[in-house]
């Protein structure tokens, strides 16, 4: 471990979410509503998020494919959708306050809501909280 920052204790991993290897989270609110954002690990890696290009309402996105863009001072990153489906809501607050992604990645820093096309089947491709914690540990121990 080369710096205090890689300590796993610094990353919040809520129990009630599903996770991707690209560090997005998904919260299943109902069968027709899944909220999506990036994890505290991703937010810390990006640091200083300065702009989020949100997807258009109605856009059809695919699991594992880019749904929108997040920009920090020095880099541009894709946000991969954890589920396939249609975008039904976007977090407009991020246009004025992109820093919410860093400050509150699991609540006010959410990106979009989609209506999943294949919820049950695609769930199997995601990690639960304890699996994601193990995955983070494998990354930070490397």
């Amino acid at each position: 471990m080369d710096s205090g920052e890689s300590s796993l204790a610094n990353y919040d991993v809520p129990d009630d979410l599903l996770y991707t290897k690209e560090h997005e989270w998904a919260k299943i609110i109902s069968e027709r509503e899944v909220r999506i954002g990036i994890t505290s690990y991703a937010a810390k890696q990006l640091h200083d998020v300065v702009f989020v290009e949100l997807p258009q309402l109605g856009l059809e996105v695919s699991q594992g494919k880019s749904a929108c863009i997040v920009e920090s001072v020095k880099s541009t990153s894709d946000v991969m959708s954890p589920f396939s489906g249609k975008i039904t809501k976007v977090n407009d607050e991020l246009s004025l306050h992109p820093e919410l992604v860093n400050k509150d990645p699991y609540e006010r820093g959410w990106f979009f809501v989609l209506e999943p096309a294949n919820l049950e089947k695609e769930k199997g491709n995601l990690m639960n909280a304890s699996e994601y914690k193990k995955y983070l540990k494998s990354l930070t121990d490397a």
Partner: protein
């Protein structure tokens, strides 16, 4: 395995590290935005020991450098730090550098990290029969930058130095060169301490921690390469390997004031031709809000590709995306508003003078802090 500077142990536990030109360097400590603003508003300290340091000694040193560099090194007096270019026969920029004149027979050149080996072999191949020795002193010295409006309170003893002048001093019996130079657009100093090696870095580490204490006491911050890049871009200072290269001349880069065609030097003929007119130019662009230009993005005018972004970032001072771009002269003569292609979409960007910030509010020319 990436190399480390002699100062690496001083900050490695506090820094988010990144590999840059073969060195493991701090990208940031607290954050790029915060460190950029700390330097603009107060003061920041950077380890820049990855930069190459070459010592030129011998009777023919001035003659040798005058042939290699675009500036007239013989005109400058002792104690001057001179910014200039080393060019190839076609006028392309091998490197940009600062030459510190210790005497007519002795100079220190600070060159870009990534170009150090290339510069050395170019110099050696141009030695001919001149009485000149070139020594690489990068691994036996350290280089620190203390930058920002409050840097003068930290290096009070050197407040008499004018910009681009330096003094030779001592730090616990070791030679210390203090120069009023930098790469941020702000007032500031660069300090070179001799004798700090990887085996014996102690004095370098001590100097770093003493300066850091004073930086912190002045409301400043340690700063990494992320802030350094943002600061230099806001100031309109080019980065070799991105904005300038062997494929571009100083005239195309808009930096003709750092060439002196009244003397002989390698690349002069090509530069004379370019002084009569160039086909493209390096310019600054400010993007519309919510658009951040990045390196290699295309610049368009009326659907035609007329240029390319060479560096881009979000500017913490302007709160906008800013960029350097190389654009065709014909297009520049027609318009000062262009489009940048960002992931298949287009955003507007307007030509802007360097520096990007208001020079009365920020930078070394600013009016006194309010």
């Amino acid at each position: 395995m990436p190399r480390q500077t002699q100062l690496y142990p001083a900050y490695k536990d506090r820094a988010k590290l990144t590999e840059f030109a073969g060195y493991l360097m701090p990208l940031y400590f607290k954050g790029i935005m915060e460190e950029t603003l700390a330097v603009r508003n107060a003061v920041g300290i950077f380890d820049v020991s990855h930069m190459g340091r070459l010592k030129i000694d011998g009777k023919d040193s001035s003659k040798f450098l005058n042939r290699l560099l675009t500036i007239n090194i013989e005109k400058g007096e002792q104690g001057r730090a001179m910014y200039g270019f080393m060019c190839n026969e076609y006028g392309g920029i091998i490197d940009d550098l600062i030459a510190y004149k210790l005497s007519d027979e002795s100079y220190i050149l600070v060159v870009n990290c990534a170009n150090r080996e290339k510069d050395l072999s170019w110099m050696k191949s141009n030695l001919r029969d001149m009485n000149v020795k070139v020594h690489d002193i990068t691994d036996t010295s350290i280089l620190l930058a203390v930058q920002g409006p409050k840097s003068v309170s930290i290096l009070n003893d050197f407040s008499y130095l004018k910009r681009f002048r330096f003094a030779l001093s001592k730090y616990e019996n070791d030679d210390l060169m203090v120069a009023r130079t930098g790469y941020t657009g702000e007032d500031g100093f660069e300090l070179m301490l001799q004798g700090a090696t990887h085996q014996n870095p102690e004095k370098g580490l001590k100097l770093y921690s003493e300066l850091l204490e004073r930086v912190n006491a002045n409301g400043g911050s340690e700063a990494g390469l992320g802030a350094r890049d943002t600061l230099r871009l806001e100031a309109g200072l080019p980065l070799h390997g991105q904005d300038i290269s062997e494929d571009i001349t100083p005239i195309e880069a808009g930096m003709a004031k750092f060439i002196d065609t009244s003397k002989e030097y390698i690349g002069r003929e090509a530069h004379m031709a370019h002084l009569n007119g160039v086909k493209r130019r390096l310019v600054g662009l400010v993007a519309e809000s919510n658009c951040i230009p990045r390196t290699h993005y295309k610049v368009l005018l009326n659907d035609d590709e007329v240029g390319i972004v060479t560096s881009g970032t979000f500017s913490p001072i302007l709160k906008r995306g800013i960029a350097m771009a190389i654009i065709q002269i014909d297009a520049l003569n027609h318009s000062n508003i262009f489009e940048i292609e960002v992931r298949g979409k287009r955003c507007k960007a307007e030509i802007h003078q360097f520096p990007f910030y208001d020079a009365e509010t920020y930078g070394f020319r600013r009016k006194q802090l309010g």
